[in-house]
């Protein structure tokens, strides 16, 4: 906890970001979610080390761990946003920080901190895995950067849906259903696919495997599923009556 401040000074965004990061871990539900997420990384590394006969190096194990956590991890920022509404803490939060965009900016900072912590965890687990298996320490900085970007987009995808919906169950369900539905629509025909592929978040998956990343499609999908939802969520938040 940091030192007290002058009462007539607006709380710094970094301070608010620390508060939001704390909110991600200080409830029972959040703690269990983080434990499950960490366990999924541990499991991914263990499975790779114990059962995969193909020799894998440190870098590959890191990617596996990051992919494993990407399933549950978005629920953390989702609940950080929607919890304000489902638990009605918004009333207190926005009374303390009446400029509502600052709260959302602080939550984004917390999301980045979460990404940093998870990346460190996965690096540590991958190192441990390499030590146990005696596999190589091969590591590609570019691949690591790609998977971190994938993880960031995955987290922001959940964050954006949460920002628009402001409802925990709906946001969690859509977080899992949207990629499936978009994929199903794309599968209707090649013609449809050529259009839908521009807004298909599965374009981000190319960042985690050996397929060539289509950066233009990664960018348009990010515009559709990250930038637009967050912008719409901010507009809705500005206008909303908080009760």
């Amino acid at each position: 906890m940091s030192a007290p401040t002058d009462r007539s000074v607006r709380p710094a965004l970094t301070r608010l970001g620390r508060v939001e990061a704390r909110k991600m871990i200080d409830t029972r539900a959040a703690l269990w979610l983080l434990i499950l997420t960490a366990l999924s990384a541990v499991a991914a590394v263990l499975v790779g080390v114990l059962f995969d006969d193909a020799s894998r190096d440190f870098g590959e194990t890191f990617v596996d761990a990051m992919l494993a956590v990407s399933v549950l991890l978005p629920i953390v920022p989702i609940l950080l946003v929607t919890g304000e509404w489902s638990q009605r803490t918004a009333l207190g939060t926005f009374a303390l920080v009446p400029i509502r965009e600052r709260v959302m900016a602080a939550k984004l900072l917390a999301l980045v901190a979460l990404l940093a912590a998870v990346t460190l965890l996965c690096l540590g687990l991958a190192a441990l895995g390499a030590a146990i298996s005696g596999d190589g320490l091969g590591f590609s900085g570019a691949e690591a950067g790609d998977v971190i970007l994938f993880e960031l987009l995955t987290l922001l995808f959940g964050f954006g849906i949460a920002a628009v919906l402001m409802n925990s169950p709906a946001a969690i369900v859509l977080n899992f259903v949207v990629p499936i539905v978009v994929g199903a629509i794309a599968a209707i025909s090649a013609g449809v696919e050529s259009v839908v592929s521009w807004v298909d978040p599965s374009a981000w998956s190319a960042l985690t495997d050996s397929t060539a990343a289509e950066w233009d499609k990664i960018a348009t999908a990010a515009l559709a599923w990250v930038v637009l939802p967050i912008a719409a969520g901010l507009v809705r938040l500005r206008r909303r009556d908080i009760a």
């Binding site: 906890m1 007290p4 009462r7 607006r10 709380p11 301070r15 508060v19 409830t27 207190g92 908080i242």
Partner: protein, 296 residues
């Protein structure tokens, strides 16, 4: 100081708050009274920038609440004690608040003790709290910023009689040190001993406001006689308006005027006193009865 002028909130065609203007001065406690659904919470939320105003202005300490750099260090706001994360421990919610507003974290335990939450209670998750404990935790949030103004929505809800007396003393002391207090209630007896100023609203409109004394003075005199017909004639002869109450009359005049009229009319009296308490209660009930009839 809190100032509202022309505060209005409409949801489509429905009017929640209509053209509300009032002022709360430093050193006073203002009781904001009205039945449930009268628009009290909406008004308080508009003052704090949580509910978007349809029209009107509100300032706290001369500034729009949303423009105060670090509002909780000047204005303690408790709008709903139940609005806390049920999975978070009591002490942790207060630590988050202290960290957000940059208050001294060393104050957390001190303030928890002040509001009567012991270590065991502070360690429990808020979901396990009674409403009274939530109110105490809410007051801790309000006090930790060391504010000059308090805005409290139904703070006595869920408190036991002992807790209400404790809160009354806390708020009285706060106002006596120069603070401004605005608190709402749907129960007259919760605020009538504490408040200096009263605002009564009904269906979103201000129906009465002023000091408690002023509102009481307007309520006349309770007068009883063993010969009620004689008394009624005597007061009618003196041109004093009366309303019947159980076994007596509420006369729209000072006790002295009523006494002289009774004497002139030869009516014996068994009771003559300012219609305090009961009068305010009647005022409250009459001002709000229309709404309650609608509701039933």
């Amino acid at each position: 100081m809190i100032e509202a002028s022309g505060l209005t909130k409409r949801y489509g065609a429905q009017v929640a708050v209509q053209d509300l203007s009032f002022r709360c001065e430093p050193g006073t406690v203002t009781g904001f009274l009205g039945p449930n659904g009268a628009g009290k919470s909406t008004t308080l939320r508009m003052i704090c920038g949580l509910t978007v105003r349809t029209a009107g202005q509100a300032t706290v300490l001369g500034t729009d609440y949303r423009r105060i750099a670090n509002p909780a260090r000047h204005v303690g706001v408790m709008l709903d004690a139940s609005a806390q994360h049920s999975g978070r421990r009591g002490r942790e919610t207060l630590r988050l608040c202290a960290e957000t507003i940059g208050a001294d974290p060393g104050l957390v335990d001190e303030v928890l003790t002040l509001v009567g939450l012991d270590r065991a209670a502070a360690r429990r998750r808020v979901g396990k709290y009674s409403l009274g404990m939530r109110q105490r935790l809410g007051l801790a949030h309000v006090l930790i910023g060391d504010p000059e103004v308090l805005i409290l929505d139904e703070p006595a809800n869920g408190l036991d009689p002992e807790g209400i007396i404790w809160m009354r003393e806390l708020l009285r002391g706060f106002a006596d040190r120069g603070g401004t207090v605005l608190l709402s209630s749907h129960l007259l007896n919760e605020v009538e001993t504490l408040a200096d100023q009263l605002l009564l609203i009904s269906q979103g409109r201000l129906v009465a406001s002023g000091s408690k004394q002023e509102l009481l003075a307007g309520n006349g005199t309770l007068v009883r006689s063993p010969e009620p017909e004689v008394l009624a004639r005597a007061l009618a002869a003196a041109g004093i308006e009366v309303a019947a109450t159980d076994g007596g009359l509420i006369a729209e005049a000072d006790p002295e005027v009523v006494g002289r009229a009774a004497l002139a009319g030869g009516a014996p009296l068994s009771e003559l006193r300012p219609a305090e308490g009961a009068g305010l209660e009647q005022l409250f009930l009459s001002l709000t009865s229309a709404e309650q009839e609608q509701g039933s």
